[in-house]
């Protein structure tokens, strides 16, 4: 009995400052509520987040748009002159739309072309590799958790670290050449060959990101009831047909999510490639984000306006992809409710 009393006494003693604090906070909150009403309180609580969002996301977006309407090399907006849509028209000025090299900003179109092929190949391969990995991890494998972790760990690495690791492996005096040399194969300059470098950026980015997609697909696979497979087994269904008629359709919602997420991520590819190849050799691995960065900040003749215009165009692509993703999410929610 006395223990209980002591405990409750200790509790109320500890809670006393909390109660005091609540009472102090209560005063201004009541005043705000009186002034704004209940619905106003929601806005009041959202305000700090909206402020941060406004300063660090919305404002830069607007400033970026304004930059895309200005010209010159000056960095501060006040020193820049308004040029209207000139930067956009510069991006789209081409001798022939079939030949990117005839465009005034050929580097932009090279970057667009590189990014396009990178996105197509990387996403297709990424889905294939993630799906196969997920299917293997979904089996009764020895040390399954270990393998799952092995495939997921690269996701936790910083992209710069990923780039450095692979540079260390692929450079002329790197691990790969050392390994090949042991088998009597001549070392090769992987990172100076156009095709190999392009392939390396795809391979490295798949390695770095596949863990997340594998995890999403694995979760989808594990959500498919085992009974369905047993029913198919009783019916004598061949494994290939089970995969095509049962696994794939039931995994479709997860696959769609993975495709869209991978697309959004692939369009923005930058860090690991910048560290690994720097966009080279030549412009063979120059992707859109790197083009924007270099045009705006790094090149000798920097042109923030042009970079801003290119980033707005890239942003539009991402908006479309994000809308698709949201659409899928909402469709999934509706299905879930039904």
């Amino acid at each position: 009995m006395s223990t209980t009393t002591n405990t409750s006494r200790l509790g109320s003693l500890l809670m006393a400052p909390v109660h005091l604090l609540m009472r102090i906070i209560d005063v201004p909150l009541r005043a705000v509520q009186k002034a704004t009403g209940i619905s106003g309180m929601a806005a009041f609580f959202l305000a700090p987040n909206m402020l941060i969002f406004g300063i660090f996301v919305l404002l830069p977006l607007v400033i970026n748009f304004v930059y895309s309407m200005t010209g010159g090399t000056a960095f501060f907006l006040a020193e820049r002159n308004f040029v209207g849509a000139e930067q956009y028209s510069r991006l789209f000025t081409c001798g022939s739309y079939l030949d990117p090299m005839s465009c005034q900003e050929d580097a932009f179109w090279t970057a667009v072309g590189n990014t396009f092929w990178f996105v197509i190949l990387q996403v297709a391969l990424m889905i294939g590799v993630s799906l196969i990995t997920a299917l293997i991890l979904n089996r009764d494998l020895a040390a399954r958790s270990f393998w799952r972790a092995v495939f997921f760990f690269p996701v936790l690495l910083s992209p710069v670290v990923v780039g450095l690791i692979w540079k260390w492996i692929l450079q002329r005096q790197g691990l790969l050449n050392f390994g090949l040399y042991q088998f009597g194969i001549e070392p090769y300059t992987w990172l100076t060959d156009r095709n190999w470098t392009f392939a390396a950026t795809i391979g490295v980015s798949i390695w770095a990101h596949m863990g997340l997609y594998t995890l999403i697909l694995l979760a989808g696979l594990q959500a498919i009831p085992k009974d369905l497979y047993e029913a198919a087994e009783m019916d004598g269904t061949k494994p290939e047909r089970v995969f095509r008629r049962i696994t794939l359709p039931l995994l479709a919602p997860n696959l769609l999510v993975v495709v869209v997420l991978a697309l959004i991520k692939a369009v923005q590819i930058f860090d690991e490639v910048y560290v690994l190849t720097g966009g080279g050799p030549g412009t063979s691995t120059l992707y859109l984000t790197q083009y924007i960065y270099e045009t705006g900040f790094a090149s000798a003749l920097r042109n923030p306006g042009l970079a801003a215009a290119a980033s707005i165009l890239m942003g539009l692509v991402l908006v479309v992809l994000t809308l698709v993703q949201l659409g899928i999410g909402q469709r999934g929610e509706k299905k879930g409710k039904r």
Binding site: P225, L228, E230, A231, M234, G236
Partner: protein, 359 residues
């Protein structure tokens, strides 16, 4: 044909021995129900017959052929799963056709079989719907339909009614019995519900801890349970068990002392028993009557459940629980003293190991 024979079947998952020396002969066309508490191995037994689990010992024969090494698909059996296992992304028609398409059956025959099963199960209006758009009962029919279209040697049903509500369960149970009468195939049915077992089965297999406790017709199990476990499992409410002692023994008869003071003369031909032996006496609640006779069992009433057509009385006999189900409505309240008579009631005697003692 659909004769299934299990000889000395054993199954272990690692070090866990889940099926122990199962011997069972199911005749063609028979409706056999495996019943037992959760974890007794009844579902595992069904799955080993289906071929979804491999036996670790013994032999399974279907129509005289050893099938231990035969895949689930080639055993010619069809299974209805507890969850129904319908493919959610396919229409009912596609669900029914899926298994048939595996064997490259001509389309016309697939359509004919689906039509026939749909008519039989009255699911024709739903053929183009998906399982998600059907009620539990309709899904259940589709699951059975998927088994029927395959025209299997035997049907294996794993707790097929457990996901239905009580009312639907009763009507579906009757439909299942009618369906069996109509198609006449062997059916093996797993349930933990002894009422389902009693109403559906030709023969019931009672299982406990991986072993078969008794095989028999529903009434055989009810009237002459082989041991205390079967006696307690079959029949609702459960049988009463009272401890007793042999106090006198003559040829063909014995006098037992129950409830501390009550003497009961019972016929007993078992010669192994002698005076002083402890016994368990089983009495079904329906066989107890209320009496005014001071010579009957004097009990304290603990709880009364008036069900209208009958009254369930929970009572206490010198610390032992005793349940009586008496017809009609009775003026009796908790706390009352009452007299229970077991005169003329079929008594079941079990020895210290729980085995039945010959009466």
């Amino acid at each position: 044909m659909g004769e299934i024979k299990l000889t000395d079947v054993n199954k272990s998952f690692g070090s866990v021995h889940v099926l122990k020396d199962i011997d069972l002969h199911i005749k063609d066309g028979e409706f056999v129900v495996f019943v037992g508490p959760s974890g007794c191995g009844k579902s595992t037994l069904l799955r080993t017959i289906a071929g979804l689990e491999k036996v670790t010992g013994g032999e399974i024969q279907i129509d005289g052929k050893r099938v231990n090494e035969v895949t689930a698909a080639d055993r010619g059996l069809a299974m209805v799963f507890q969850s129904y296992a319908l493919y959610p992304h396919m229409s009912v028609r596609q669900n029914l056709a899926f298994g048939l398409e595996n064997s490259n059956m001509p389309k016309a025959e697939v359509a004919e079989r689906i039509g026939e099963a749909a008519r039989m199960l009255e699911i024709e209006p739903y053929l183009e719907r998906r399982p998600g758009q059907l009620s539990g009962g309709q899904r259940q029919r589709v699951a059975i339909g998927r088994a029927i279209v395959r025209r299997p040697t035997a049907f294996l049903l794993d707790e097929p009614l457990s996901n239905l509500d009580a009312e639907l369960r009763v009507s579906t149970r009757a439909e299942l019995a009618a369906l069996h009468a109509r198609i006449g195939s062997t059916m093996i049915y797993v349930t933990h519900d002894q009422v389902e077992a009693m109403t559906l089965a030709h023969r019931i297999v009672v299982m406990r801890a991986g072993k078969i406790e008794q095989i028999g017709t529903p009434l055989e199990l009810y009237n002459t349970p082989a041991n205390r476990f079967v006696a307690g499992f079959i029949g609702a409410p459960h049988m009463n068990f009272l401890s007793g002692e042999v106090v006198e023994k003559e040829v063909g008869n014995a006098t037992l002392l129950i409830g501390g003071s009550h003497r009961l003369l019972v016929p007993m031909s078992d010669r192994k028993l002698s005076v002083g032996d402890k016994l368990t006496i089983g009495i079904r609640p329906q066989h107890i009557t209320l009496a005014n006779d001071p010579g009957s069992l004097r009990v304290k009433v603990r709880l009364v459940e008036a069900l209208g057509s009958e009254t369930v009385i929970h009572a206490d006999l010198n610390g032992e629980k005793l349940l009586a189900v008496v017809p009609g409505q009775r003026q009796i309240s908790p706390g009352d003293d009452a007299h229970f008579s077991v005169a003329g009631a079929p008594l079941h005697l079990f020895d210290g190991n729980g085995s039945r003692v010959k009466g």
